[in-house]
């Protein structure tokens, strides 16, 4: 009968290992070979340079609107890094570092932002879903994929990403609730980059942390310095292990910052100050990690320059490949259904006649209608 404080089974922690100046708490630094340490830097650097090139391509009109992930490289690479190949990754739209690390061909990502469906068509062998635009909707199919992992019982897990703004959507809440209720092997990483377009994190929710939302769903939450690759790796690694062992979901809030525009259609000057951005630049995930590597003799300037050169070449090759791509104007007809229904065949004929009329016959693809009706996937 008495009134007393309820003790919760689950807890919320916070974790930071590598500070903004590149000093680490060595007792917490994950045990990694130097080669792995360099690989992590390369993953972040690749994503940074890719973003910069994409912004350039956008200004030149060679792709459409672009949403960069500048400053969020550690938060998206770390969780991807701890997955096994057979695990699933369910990205949102600000995870190029993770996606590239998982093996998404860079030209596919460029093509996506260039307005081509092929950018969503992940190559066989990669267990990742494509870029997802409707905010937080991916959390629900992420929970479904995790459920599949559990049913199959093969020890695989699913990792999904969402933004701080995304935590306000019903889809996020429903996904976390389902993950908890069915003890699913789901790791959800919130990239809390402080902004949802123009809405600051403080106005998004009254919760003092996003990690604490896990408690309401019945599992553990952890808030990590999302610009600290060691903290992200550690938290994600533990969460993935727990999920693999049947220990259920984890919510990770990676505290980071969107250094760039929301997308190239956005003007952040309308809602945030330069001072704020400058302050966060001092907490850059790449700069601090590089300082650490240098201090520990794991990488020097020369090796880094070589890495930069290699990356520049890789990006140039991807841009060239993407720009060689020629979309097939009839492709949309092939993928709406497994087999094209009659009513669409009539519309296709109409469409082909139209193409012929506007191009004097040249627009006519050499696909026969029967070929288009047979779906290849």
């Amino acid at each position: 009968m008495p009134r007393k404080k309820i003790e919760l089974e689950n807890h919320v922690e916070s974790l930071s290992i590598l500070d903004a100046d590149g000093n680490a708490d060595e007792s917490l630094v994950p045990k990694l070979e130097p080669a792995e340490m360099r690989k992590l830097l390369r993953g972040m650097l690749l994503a940074r340079r890719y973003d910069e090139r994409m912004l350039k391509l956008q200004r030149q009109g060679r792709i459409g609107t672009y949403g960069p992930a500048l400053g969020q490289e550690a938060a998206s690479l770390g969780p991807a890094y701890v997955l096994s190949k057979n695990d699933w990754m369910i990205p949102s739209f600000r995870e190029p570092a993770g996606m590239l690390y998982r093996g998404w061909p860079m030209d596919k990502l460029i093509l996506w932002w260039g307005g081509n469906e092929t950018g969503s068509s992940v190559p066989e062998g990669i267990r990742d879903t494509p870029i997802c635009v409707p905010v937080a909707s991916q959390c629900l199919y992420g929970a479904g994929v995790a459920w599949g992992c559990k049913l199959r019982g093969d020890g695989t897990v699913a990792l999904c990403f969402v933004g701080d703004g995304g935590t306000s959507e019903g889809d996020f809440h429903e996904a976390m609730n389902v993950a908890g209720a069915f003890n699913l092997p789901l790791v959800c990483v919130i990239q809390n980059n402080q902004w949802a377009i123009s809405l600051p994190r403080k106005k998004q929710t009254a919760s003092s942390t996003l990690a604490q939302k896990a408690l309401a769903y019945g599992f553990n939450g952890i808030q990590v310095d999302g610009n600290d690759i060691f903290a992200v790796l550690t938290a994600a690694g533990e969460a993935v292990d727990r999920a693999r062992r049947g220990g259920g979901p984890t919510l990770i809030e990676a505290v980071t910052y969107r250094l760039g525009v929301h997308t190239t259609a956005d003007d952040p000057k309308k809602y945030r100050t330069e001072d704020e951005v400058e302050a966060w630049k001092c907490r850059d995930p790449l700069a601090r990690y590089y300082k650490y590597l240098k201090k520990h003799g794991i990488l020097d300037d020369k090796a880094r320059d070589m890495m930069e050169e290699e990356i520049a070449e890789e990006i140039t090759a991807a841009v060239e490949k993407a720009e060689r791509y020629e979309p097939d104007v009839l492709e949309p007809w092939r993928y709406c259904f497994a087999t094209m229904p009659n009513f669409l065949e009539g519309q296709l004929e109409e469409f082909q006649a139209y193409l012929e009329s506007v191009s004097g016959g040249e627009g006519r693809s050499n696909h026969k209608r029967s070929e288009l009706s047979e779906n290849v996937h």
């Binding site: 307005g115 809405l199 259609a265 956005d266 009513f343 139209y354």
Partner: protein, 326 residues
């Protein structure tokens, strides 16, 4: 009279309503500090403050559902969905509550709210930002569906929608936001919802459209007149619910021929209902089967392939010629 774009005209209608009626509120993502991702709510936060122009968390279902509650509590919310492609989250609150409260409570509680959303293609946007799904809402009893085509009617219709006693889905053709300017009167102007506008009187064929696809229709006129010596009558519906059966029927009775144009997919699309009304009311006047120029029943391609999949003047001209040469 001032020359302005549709973006400015919509802004003007909201500014006037906020100034006139203290129960009018704006709720939406990035509508305040950022002034809307299309700058439609420019200056409104500054002028009316954060209690009237509300920056909302990323939650469309909440924007719609909270608006229903605000209506019950005596307010007139203007809810903005950032893109129509994200309005589906709000579907449940709109179908199960906004459209039904009047009936459920036998008029005790009503939902005088507007749900504004930009729709349509042609702006090189990423996935989910270019669809035309207005037919979904037109199917729901209790909702009005209003779609302006130019600055002047946009301003007048938004005003009418804000002060309409029932929920209005207000679809804004985003490709037309800044495409052209028009004279807009200085004084607040309103329009009756449910009245179509005969944009051009003619005798040979009736072309019916609305919203974004009025532009390819109007662009086809010169060629139809000069090249093919045709005299088309052009109707801008301005509202799908209520649909102006009278204007449509009268025109088709006169011309005997009809083409309906929209960006939305064809299957169960607005054209299907328009043609059904014509068949019910003017079948014996028809001299040719009615043609539809619409989006195909496919997922609209990403922007690199989008263009040939949208209605354009060529498609309109082809359809009109088929109808008149039948």
């Amino acid at each position: 009279m001032a020359q302005m774009t549709m973006a400015k005209a919509l802004n003007l209608a909201m500014r006037e309503a906020l100034a006139e009626d203290p129960t009018v509120l704006i709720l939406g993502q990035d509508v305040g500090q950022d002034e809307g991702v299309f700058r439609i709510t420019e200056g409104l936060l500054k002028e009316f403050g954060p209690e009237r122009v509300i920056d909302f968390p990323v939650a469309e279902s909440a924007i719609a559902g909270v608006s229903v509650g605000l209506c019950i509590a005596g307010y007139k919310p203007i809810a903005e969905m950032q893109f129509s492609g994200f309005g589906y989250h709000a579907f449940h609150q709109i179908e199960n509550h906004a459209s039904r409260f009047r009936n459920r409570t036998r008029g005790r509680f009503t939902c005088p709210m507007v749900v504004r959303m930009p729709y349509g293609g042609g702006i090189r946007a990423i996935e989910h930002h270019s669809e035309s799904r207005e037919a979904i809402w037109a199917h729901l009893p209790g909702l009005k569906v209003v779609i302006p085509s130019g600055p002047r009617n946009a301003r007048a219709l938004l005003r009418a929608s804000i002060f309409d006693p029932d929920p209005v889905m207000f679809y804004e053709p985003k490709a037309s936001y800044r495409a052209f300017k028009e004279e807009v009167p200085d004084e607040p102007e309103t329009m009756e919802i449910g009245k179509a506008h005969v944009v051009r009187a003619g005798s040979d064929v009736t072309i019916i459209s609305y919203g974004a696809s009025m532009r390819p229709v109007l662009e086809a006129v010169d060629e139809l007149v000069d090249e093919y010596q045709l005299d088309p009558e052009i109707i801008d519906l301005l509202s799908l619910v209520p649909l102006d059966t009278e204007t449509i029927t009268a025109s088709v009775k006169k011309t005997g021929r009809c083409v309906v144009v929209h960006e939305a997919p064809r299957n169960c699309g607005p054209a299907a209902e328009i043609i059904a009304r014509i068949v019910e009311n003017a079948l014996e006047f028809l001299e040719a089967p009615i043609q539809r120029v619409t989006g195909y029943d496919l997922v609209l391609p990403f922007f690199n392939l989008e263009k040939p999949y949208m209605p354009d003047p060529t498609k309109v001209i082809t359809a009109v010629r088929e109808v008149v040469n039948y």
